[in-house]
Subunit: 292 residues, 2 copies
């Protein structure tokens, strides 16, 4: 059997009982180290599972799937992925490959940011499409996310914005010289994300992400409990003004609040507000939400 096991959002204890049983029975266990980053080190996972883990970067999952699937028709092999196996990055390729090799596949689901985002109090029902925001460079500032957010905003829907992660990145020099030396991982901060949004709003000027009139929720380490999880809500302008440590450790996500907004959503997310009064005022006067 080939298992693809979602690890959930935070640490070694977020695996499900079914997932843990599967891992313990496997002869080889791969840990995908690309799409997202758990908050714990590989060694801690290994100690918890009582198993050695083989690190598999995205390249390996894509190009060496036959090695990962080797003998999985005769023994159990698992690929562990952060979040859910069908979250931000799907694993349909390797599943299709397994099927074509007549290897039985079992997916073990778990929480991912795509559903845990509900922790900010906004209804999952009212989210439109999810968008990704990549690191801008001097010369490359892809802005198609703006059109996607606009589509959601026009319908009054909330938008989950996933912030870029760079792992296993080579400097231009190392790349040019073919040296396999990698830069330390980088995670887009809330401040950088909001500032990139502002830059594109300035450029496009369609009033979709007006700093003082757009409500947003910054989230970090969702599911990590009070010690680790941080949720901060406010206008884009307010979020931009905050010292960056208020947002906690990476990974971060950002939600742009849509106008189809229920007063209970406003009230719940207000508990995370930089300035609760300002939050209510914008919800009432700009978003047109009926609040007592």
């Amino acid at each position: 059997m080939f298992y693809i096991v979602g690890l959930g959002l935070c640490d070694e204890k977020d695996i499900t009982v079914r997932g843990l049983e599967a891992v313990k029975g496997c002869s080889r266990v791969y840990l995908e180290a690309y799409t997202s980053i758990l908050m714990v080190q590989k060694e801690r996972l290994e100690a918890f599972y009582g198993k050695e883990l083989i690190l598999a970067d995205r390249d390996m999952v894509e190009t060496e799937s036959d090695e990962i699937l080797r003998d999985a028709d005769k023994e159990d092999v698992a690929l562990l992925v952060v979040g859910d196996p069908f979250g931000a990055t799907t694993h349909t390729d390797i599943i299709l490959r397994a099927r074509s090799l007549k290897i039985p596949v079992r997916v073990v689901h778990n929480a991912s940011i795509m559903n845990a985002v509900g922790a900010c109090g906004l209804q999952l029902y009212n989210f439109g499409q999810t968008v990704s925001l990549v690191f801008f460079t001097e010369t490359w500032k892809p802005d198609s996310f703006y059109d996607r957010i606009k589509e959601n905003v026009d319908l009054g829907m909330h938008t989950l914005v996933l912030l870029d992660i760079k792992v296993k990145e080579q400097s231009e020099e190392n790349l040019a010289r073919g040296r396999k030396i990698y830069e330390p991982p980088r995670y887009m901060s809330i401040t950088q994300a909001v500032s990139q949004l502002a830059e594109i709003e300035e450029l496009r000027g369609e009033g979709i992400l007006t700093p003082e009139k757009t409500l947003a929720v910054a989230m970090s380490r969702v599911g990590g409990g009070d010690e680790r999880e941080r949720i901060v809500s406010g206008t884009l302008a307010e979020l931009l003004e905050q010292p960056s440590d208020i947002f906690g450790e990476p990974l971060h996500s950002l939600v742009i609040v849509g106008k189809r907004l229920h007063h209970l959503e406003v009230e719940y997310a207000q508990t995370f507000a930089v300035n609760p009064e300002a939050w209510r005022n914008v919800a009432k006067n700009v978003y047109g939400c009926s609040l007592d």
Copy 2:
């Protein structure tokens, strides 16, 4: 501490290790029996946890939250919910109440249909808002879902349609006589859902859910593994023609496929198709997806 623990999608083993540890340490454990239905009985959960469970219907969670939260500032109490605590029904009310009583709260996330729907091979990125479809009666056929699906369809996005569940329902007679006798639970089938969609399409005639030209995916017991999970894809017309047992046991969900469709999505979901060739033809000729 007050824990709200997501149980995931299928059975007792879908709880996370963190969730299980929390449950084992609680002095009282409530099981919410409303929004969704696990595939196992309460007794099996009790045996697995080594704990007695107190059934809490939606009424109780809403109106007797202080009883559920009693002493949770001094001891640990858990409320177990199917899926994720912030899934289709959020539990923001009881969390707000706990906070106002200065009771610390810990949410334990898990998979819910809102992210596990990715198992059909369609990208979660490309889903718009989620809609609910309720049982029609002779006199009550609410059709606002049609407008919501239209909004998604116009943008090319997929739509997750959650099908109605009736639990703790009273017959009109029992209701009138004030007898607390409840009907057996009812779950909307795929056949009924598709036929309700067809009825409203007929009425509204906006070509959003044309039986022969709209692709859809029927899902049941997602995450249940090969023995229990069923995924069936086809046009709405094809799904309507299938014998109902092909769709497996409840709960069912339905996905309406949007036109922003990648060829890999078509290929993966094709593995579940009633008629793979027809599936590809509609994807190519109606949806305009480039397939080799």
